[in-house]
């Protein structure tokens, strides 16, 4: 609508930043309303997330998860497909990681990392393939099918953990611990090579580098390959893309495969990097946070990286907040909802006034 009137730089910076600011202001009002000090809360969150290498470690660990799931949603959004199924795809990714780590004896973590990444990506992609196929060939609405597949994934994983992977006699539904050889190097070990001290506690590990690498890979795929061009063209206009000889069904399926694989990769960080075993709630909503991350990052890998860092900060800061004040962790879910609301659904509410401002400047 009024999109053309906003300069590109403002579209990628001013609009999302205004949305996030609005979300923060409302959250601050909420904190104030429950009788806590918003200023003290912000201070506590910043200190908790960035005040020590311990805090940084957790912030980066969460950010790693969100980079994967954010990229997954962003790639699908580029083709105008809304993949809400990141949660389920990541759950299945976790199953892939667990099977690879448990049933194949790996001599070294590096081989295990490659194989587990493949396992996670293949399982995640397979789980996204079915909704993608049904959308492409049968016209089933991808949003509904991916939602349904989240629930089916949760049941499937529950079945696997209770009836297949759980060790004999164990009470809680989880897989046995992975062999020690599959433990991924933590960030403090990597930094230690260069003589940089870092807290040994946080689970941040080498998957962070994989995630950053994926940002580059997705950028390259989207803007430097024929497939990426086709995906973006399809997203801009389906009839035009079809007229140019791009098969909508093929692109839909490819995009969902890539999206599912990226969501699945998240499990490498959380299942292999942190818990070293598969548990029921291995994903903990990170698949959904990917939606907020992609919307805020304007579906660009660099934007996704920045937005994932912001949400990493919110998660670590929120945990500190819950620890030291009466504000529960769920405050972060509220902030996340507001970010989705303002950057996604109420985009025009933010965009139109900004467009007017630019129009006024232009008229002068």
């Amino acid at each position: 609508m009024s999109k053309g009137r906003i300069p590109h730089w403002a579209d990628v910076t001013l609009v999302p930043l205004t949305s996030v600011l609005l979300a923060f202001v409302i959250s601050a009002i909420l904190i104030w309303a429950i009788g806590e000090s918003p200023w003290a809360a912000v201070k506590l969150m910043v200190e908790g997330a960035f005040g020590s290498s311990y805090g940084w470690g957790y912030t980066l660990f969460y950010a790693t998860n969100f980079i994967f799931t954010g990229l997954a949603v962003a790639v699908a959004f580029q083709a105008r497909l809304f993949n809400i199924g990141g949660e389920g795809q990541a759950l299945l990714g976790g199953l892939g990681v667990a099977l690879v780590c448990l049933y194949i004896p790996w001599p070294h973590w590096s081989l295990a990392l490659i194989a587990a990444s493949l396992g996670a990506a293949v399982f995640g992609a397979a789980w996204a393939f079915i909704p993608g196929y049904l959308q492409a060939r049968r016209g089933s609405h991808i949003v509904i099918t991916t939602i349904m597949f989240n629930f089916i994934a949760a049941s499937l994983l529950g079945y696997f953990l209770v009836n297949v992977l759980r060790p004999q006699g164990a009470q809680d539904p989880s897989s046995p611990r992975f062999p020690a050889e599959t433990a991924l190097p933590k960030l403090h070990e990597i930094l230690g090579v260069f003589g940089i001290p870092f807290s040994t506690v946080p689970p941040v590990n080498i998957s962070l580098l994989v995630a950053v690498g994926m940002c580059f890979a997705v950028w390259f795929m989207l803007w430097r390959t024929r497939l990426g061009y086709q995906i973006r063209a399809f997203g801009e206009s389906e009839p035009a893309a079809e007229y140019a000889g791009i098969s909508p069904a093929r692109i839909t399926i490819y995009v969902m495969l890539i999206s599912g694989a990226l969501a699945g990769l998240m499990a490498v960080n959380s299942v292999m990097g942190e818990q070293q075993r598969l548990v029921l709630n291995a994903v903990e909503g990170a698949g959904f946070i990917g939606i907020a991350v992609a919307l805020m990052g304007r579906n660009h890998p660099f934007g996704v990286f920045l937005a994932a860092m912001l949400f990493g900060f919110l998660y670590q800061g929120g945990a500190e907040l819950a620890l030291w004040t009466g504000i529960p962790r769920e405050l972060i879910v509220v902030i996340q909802a507001l970010v989705i609301l303002f950057t996604g659904a109420l985009d025009n509410m933010v965009r139109i006034p900004i467009a007017r401002l630019f129009a006024m400047r232009g008229a002068r």
Partner: protein, 321 residues
């Protein structure tokens, strides 16, 4: 399965199907008017919280129900603002509402009651009383009719019967009134409605508001009828099951009744038995939990009769100038 167990399972089905029925009809009316609503879950959750906390504070469940409906309608109007007025993405707005509900209920519950995101448990007048249907006691020992009437149909909270009543009401409203005709038209071809001089925006807001009322009742029943108090995330995907039932019913009220009873029955059976042997095949409880979703995907895929949503669903209406 002996008779006793069957009656118990069906009685529990009645109760479990009720919130699904309210939410399913809510989604049905909204989507018939062309507004997708995947935020049923969130609205139910906020309503459940409001109903339980206001009922606890006031000691009267019906004040809680009114509050629940109020807050649910408020959320609906937010959805309307985003998706009708600002022509935002209806699906993203629904996602936002679900998260907003999941977060804010716990934050406020913790602040009000300090019980880790739950409300104190309700008792007495703060809970919905069970109603015995007329002659239920007298008919108790009559074969066939007794177990059905006394065992299954009688002895539920008022909202169970209200939900059942909503089915013919919704059908009548949609298919026998002028308002309903316009509502359906606005979901199929808003331009035609606009040309006839009827407000598309007004109709869609009306549909969204009705959706809010029904979600409010669904949530209220959940926390004050089905359970005795609110706990974190207590809707547990029921909003999505309702959405699934709506698709399963292909956006038709009477079929919706059938769909929610089927899904309610699956839940009741899953609650009652851990694993079932059907003709020698062991069906794990997880299969029962996943079945509503699997059935919906199958229906959506059109392998067994195709589900076609209202044509203008999901798109904001832009007036021609």
């Amino acid at each position: 399965m002996d008779m006793m167990v069957l009656v118990q399972v069906l009685e529990s089905t009645m109760r479990l199907a009720t919130p699904l029925l309210f939410a399913c009809l809510a989604g049905l009316i909204s989507e018939r008017a062309g507004v997708f609503d995947i935020g049923l879950e969130g609205k139910m959750l906020v309503a459940a919280f409001m109903a339980a906390s206001i009922a606890f504070v006031s000691g009267n469940v019906w004040i809680g129900v009114v509050a629940a409906v109020g807050v649910s309608v408020l959320m609906s109007l937010m959805h309307g603002l985003a998706s009708i007025t600002f022509r935002g993405n209806q699906l993203i707005s629904g996602v936002a509402i679900n998260f907003l509900a999941a977060g804010i209920t716990v934050v406020i519950a913790q602040n009000w009651f300090r019980q880790g995101g739950r409300t104190p448990s309700l008792s007495g007048n703060a809970r919905m009383a069970r109603i015995d249907l007329p002659f239920a006691e007298a008919l108790r020992d009559v074969p066939v009719i007794g177990p059905i009437y006394h065992g299954i149909l009688s002895g539920h909270a008022l909202l169970v019967y209200v939900a059942l009543l909503c089915v013919p009401l919704t059908w009548f409203m949609l298919f026998r009134t002028r308002f309903g005709l316009r509502l359906r038209a606005v979901g199929e071809n808003p331009a035609a409605v606009d040309t006839a001089g009827v407000s598309v925006v007004g109709l869609r807001y009306a549909a969204v508001a009705i959706c809010g009322v029904l979600c409010g009742l669904a949530g209220a029943y959940l926390s004050t009828g089905l359970s005795a108090g609110f706990v974190k995330d207590m809707t547990a995907g029921r909003g999505f099951i309702a959405l699934a039932a709506m698709i399963f019913a292909k956006w038709r009220p009477w079929h919706a009744l059938g769909a929610v009873f089927l899904f309610g029955l699956l839940e009741a059976v899953a609650n009652r038995f851990q694993n079932i042997d059907i003709l020698g095949v062991n069906l794990p409880v997880q299969a029962m939990q996943a079945l509503p979703y699997i059935l919906t995907v199958v229906i959506l895929a059109g392998f067994v009769g195709k589900a076609i949503p209202p044509r203008a669903g999901g798109a904001a209406y832009v007036k021609e100038h």
